[in-house]
């Protein structure tokens, strides 16, 4: 499995909690940016990929023409004949019929929509530019355009969110044709307006965990499988592109601030729009080249995020000496002894009760 990621760092407006690399406005640069991405793509000629994800930012801001240009460019640079999943992310206000039609025509088969909440008060406080009817419309439009694999993102722990408001959001979403839901706990990231001025109606950590637990339980009753710490899918509808990240697979990232993992080396493109536009092929910076034991530990840490499959020490992507695997097993067994992990055969998993406190366990597994 190899994945291809394209980062679209443009937004209509920056949400108050967001620390991803994106610039508000500047849509006039979209044309040039897509050209730059295609130039960067030609730096890795002839490579083939099984999954594609166009993320952001707000990729739906590309509009029909730029999306078509991007897809044509990517097909010109790479071998995409083996593509099994091609996702584009969008925000409700820019997911239009025209955009969806072009997306479908150029091979996109999965749409991920940033709903975040269906409570207008919560949306406003978070700095979202759409309201809840828009989100519902967008999901319906997507289905009408012929997509049968639709995901929505929601956030628990938004300012003003309560058990009942989250309940309403979930119930409304359950009535829509969704195959996948990402449920993220709001985290207050340095440098964001939320960090600078903590909203006073922000649910505390304990409340957030409570909200998440309720959401997880509800979605499972509705037939969704809790397959990753923050992700739920109907059977067979897990996000293959993301699964590749969590299984320690390889991927190439294009665009400003995009990350890549190739031949055991992790890279990241510089997070500057101007720099990227000037030198698309010079943006890539080597972040780290992991030693075998680090690589192995990292794979275990990532795989443990997968709550259903976990990490099977007999079946690791990074094939390494038994000595290193033995050391890893020792650390994993240490966590099993304290009931922080469960073990079945050679397979270790996070118990559902340990999801919200997994950092400590993952840190122990790392080294």
């Amino acid at each position: 499995m190899r994945g291809l990621y394209v980062h679209i760092p443009f937004c209509a407006a920056k949400c108050l909690y967001c620390d991803f690399y994106s610039v508000p406005g500047r849509l006039e640069l979209l044309d040039k940016y897509i050209e730059a991405v295609i130039v960067e793509a030609h730096g890795y000629p002839g490579q083939s990929f099984n999954t594609l994800c166009i993320g952001g930012g707000t990729p739906s801001l590309l509009g029909p023409q730029n999306l078509e240009k991007l897809m044509t460019g990517l097909r010109g640079a790479f071998d995409l004949s083996g593509l099994r999943e091609a996702t584009i992310e969008g925000n409700p206000e820019s997911v239009t019929t025209g955009f969806l039609r072009v997306a479908r025509d150029c091979g996109i088969n999965r749409i991920s929509i940033g709903v975040q909440s269906l409570d207008d008060g919560e949306l406003k406080k978070a700095g979202r530019v759409h309201d809840s009817p828009k989100s519902i419309d967008a999901i319906k439009l997507t289905q009408e355009a012929g997509f049968d694999n639709i995901s929505a993102d929601i956030i628990v722990g938004l300012p003003g969110q309560t058990r009942s408001s989250l309940g309403h959001t979930l119930e409304a979403l359950a009535g829509l044709p969704l195959t996948h839901l990402s449920v993220y706990c709001l985290s207050i990231e340095e440098g964001t307006p939320f960090a600078a001025c903590l909203p006073d109606d922000l649910p505390g950590d304990d409340e957030q965990v409570e909200l998440f637990g309720r959401a997880a339980a509800y979605l499972q009753r509705e037939g969704f499988i809790h397959y990753e710490i923050s992700n739920f899918a109907l059977p067979g509808r897990e996000c293959r592109h993301n699964l590749n990240y969590w299984r320690g697979g390889e991927y190439v990232g294009l665009g400003a601030a995009a990350s890549s993992h190739v031949d055991g080396v992790r890279y990241k493109n510089a997070a500057t729009l101007a720099g990227y536009l000037a030198h698309p092929q010079g943006a890539r910076i080597e972040m780290e080249r992991l030693k075998p034991e680090e690589k192995l530990a990292e794979e275990a840490m990532l795989r443990l995020r997968l709550l259903q499959e976990g990490v099977d020490t007999n079946n690791l992507a990074t094939g390494h000496g038994c000595e290193l695997v033995a050391k890893l097993k020792e650390r994993l067994d240490g966590q099993v002894a304290q009931n922080f992990l469960v073990k079945k055969g050679g397979c270790y998993r996070l118990p559902p009760s340990g999801v919200m406190t997994s950092n400590r366990v993952l840190a122990e597994v790392l080294a």
Binding site: M287, S358, R360, L366
Partner: protein, 596 residues
């Protein structure tokens, strides 16, 4: 010899002793202004706290107004109540003392304590009022205080500004005129006083001495009176800005002796050095081993660093022979050391130096005094470690060390200071009124009360105006109990402490509350308890942590996520494992001072 003057400067903390020493070095031409930044205090920590911890001295050639050449030996003295014994030894090396008083502050507790030590040592005192350049200077008031509180004559008082040098030349002349030249003769057998020492990696422990009689030169055999050990002198010399070698030291001189003394434990401040040919020469009276007043346990954060800590302590002891230590073993914290200090300030400085200069990651347990435990079977145990106390049934009664404190306080703050002292199980011995604006409160109180936060609180209730001096004044029976701390249902023996029965519960609650705030939440619930025997007197629970998760792990930036986890793991290494509980250094630190 008649042209030598051995003197020191004594003062309350912050009254300008170091500045005056700097100005003297500069005006006599020994140091140029630019190269001098408070020459005599050269440890970082001393600079930060503005005090002198280790005494140092310097030989200053002085060309007097009469045209004669003099040698002024300025012997620096430590300026804190913890180091009283060291002060008295330094004073014994002098013939005169400059008593410095800050014109804006007046006579303070340590001014009196140090002046009395100097008078006891038979020193000629030159009273000096400093900081006369400041707008708040109260020269007349200070003069009256020096007269009424110390009996010093007003016409003898000199006025200086150590900062700008005003009056310092006159002070130098006064030192020459008023301080008597050293007595004793070079023809008699050797007799020297050790008043300080330092450690040199190549030449061993180098004692600082004052020669009272006789002469010492390289090749001589010397004997230390306290141990009767004999060493051969390799080298002698004076203190200039560094060490200045000389052919010999004789009666009246102040200098150093190199004799390849490898073990810092051999050299004790106050000991007498005589010639091995004349072992019958009597010791200079007043010698005692430095006495530890306060003890605490120290443990490496990581158990396997125990050997490194031992090596660091060994080196540390070479520089500061007043610390004593022995191995200690705690069921909860593993292997560590029990260390004795001269007082609280000494403890704080020593622990800080171990961390900074010796790079030790350590935790320290609550300080304790030495208790006298009378057992039912007639045994009397002197115990500095509460965890070593016998079972309650075996204890007949406990006595604790008492200090006599002299607190000088402006009349306006007498009330709050008395209130504070009374809350600390004290007995009022007397009140003196040296003038109409100040009072001297004399209290007997347990040393254990003093070492928690008494001094800090005294400063705060008097807005910084009160000053204090104390000395040990015997033992007194107290209604004391041992309080144990349990973390996650396991007793942490090293955290046990002795408390008066009356306020054991209040103090226990304060301590447990503090612990509950500094121990991070874990994945399980952690009960914290304080108990006397099996009776729990305070309890708090640390509820399990509920959220500690990286929710968003997509977009491929794995490096950043992994680093986050690695950082978390790194933070954990700074904590001490107590059973399954990770206890941060701050938790131990916060226990050192408990407000009720």
């Amino acid at each position: 010899m008649k042209n030598i003057r051995n003197f020191c400067i004594i003062a309350h903390i912050d009254h300008g002793k170091s500045t005056l020493a700097d100005r003297i070095l500069e005006i006599t031409g020994l140091v140029r202004k630019a190269s001098m930044e408070q020459m005599l205090d050269n440890m970082d920590l001393e600079r930060e706290r503005g005090i002198t911890i280790k005494a140092k001295s310097v030989r200053i050639p002085y060309h007097s107004e009469s045209g004669e050449e003099y040698i002024l030996n300025l012997i620096d003295t430590p300026g804190h109540v913890d180091f009283n014994y060291e002060v008295s030894r330094s004073l014994n090396a002098c013939d005169g003392a400059v008593l410095l008083v800050d014109a804006t502050q007046g006579v303070e507790a340590q001014t009196i304590a140090n002046a009395n030590l100097a008078l006891d040592a038979g020193l000629k005192i030159i009273p000096v009022i400093n900081k006369i350049d400041l707008p708040g200077a109260m020269v007349d008031d200070c003069s009256l205080q020096l007269y009424s509180m110390l009996g010093l004559r007003i016409e003898d008082i000199l006025l200086v500004s150590a900062k700008d040098g005003t009056g310092v030349p006159a002070l130098l002349e006064a030192i020459v005129d008023r301080v008597p030249p050293p007595a004793g003769s070079a023809g008699e057998p050797l007799k020297c006083l050790i008043f300080d020492s330092f450690y040199d990696a190549y030449r061993g422990v180098i004692p600082h001495i004052r020669v009272f009689s006789g002469c010492v030169e390289p090749g001589d055999k010397i004997m230390l009176k306290s141990t009767e050990k004999i060493f051969e002198v390799e080298d002698v010399g004076y203190f200039s800005l560094g060490l200045a070698q000389s052919s010999a030291l004789q009666a009246g001189d102040v200098g150093y002796i190199v004799a390849l003394i490898r073990n810092a434990g051999e050299i004790h401040v106050g000991d007498t050095v005589v010639s091995a040919d004349h072992p019958e020469v009597p010791a200079i009276p007043g010698f005692r081993m430095s006495q530890s007043m306060v003890y605490c346990g120290i443990y490496p954060i990581v158990t396997s660093d125990y050997a490194k800590l031992g090596a660091a302590l060994e080196k540390f002891k070479l520089n500061d022979s007043s610390v004593v230590y022995e191995k200690e073993n705690s069921a909860a914290l593993g292997y560590g050391y029990r260390i004795g200090f001269l007082g609280m300030l000494h403890m704080e400085i020593a622990l800080e130096r171990l961390k900074r200069e010796y790079e030790q990651d350590i935790i320290a347990t609550m300080p304790s005094v030495i208790y006298k435990v009378f057992c039912t079977d007639g045994d009397i145990l002197m115990l500095d470690n509460p965890s070593k106390f016998p079972a309650e049934g075996r204890i007949d009664h406990i006595e604790e060390p008492i200090i006599r404190a002299r607190i000088i306080v402006p009349s306006d703050y007498v009330g709050p200071c008395m209130e504070l002292a009374e809350a600390k199980r004290s007995t009022l011995v007397g009140i003196e009124h040296p003038d109409d604006r100040r009072a001297i409160l004399i209290y007997d109180l347990p040393l254990a009360e003093m070492i928690t936060d008494f001094y800090d609180r005294l400063k705060s209730v008097s807005r910084g105006y009160a000053s204090m001096d104390y000395k040990l004044n015997g033992y007194r029976a107290g209604d004391l109990v041992k309080v144990d701390i349990l973390v996650n249902n396991g007793m942490v023996d090293a955290l046990s402490y002795i408390s008066p029965r009356d306020n054991a519960a209040v103090k226990g609650k304060a301590l447990i509350y503090k612990l509950s705030k500094v121990i991070p939440r874990h994945l399980f619930k952690i009960p914290l308890q304080a108990a006397i025997g099996s009776q729990v007197i305070a309890r708090a629970d640390i509820y399990p942590m509920r959220k500690d998760v990286i929710a968003k792990c997509y977009g491929g930036d794995i490096t950043r996520k992994r680093k986050l986890l690695e950082k978390q793991k790194e933070g954990k290494k700074k904590m001490k494992m107590v059973g399954f509980v990770e206890v941060p250094q701050e938790a131990f630190l916060s226990l050192m001072k408990i407000e009720e």
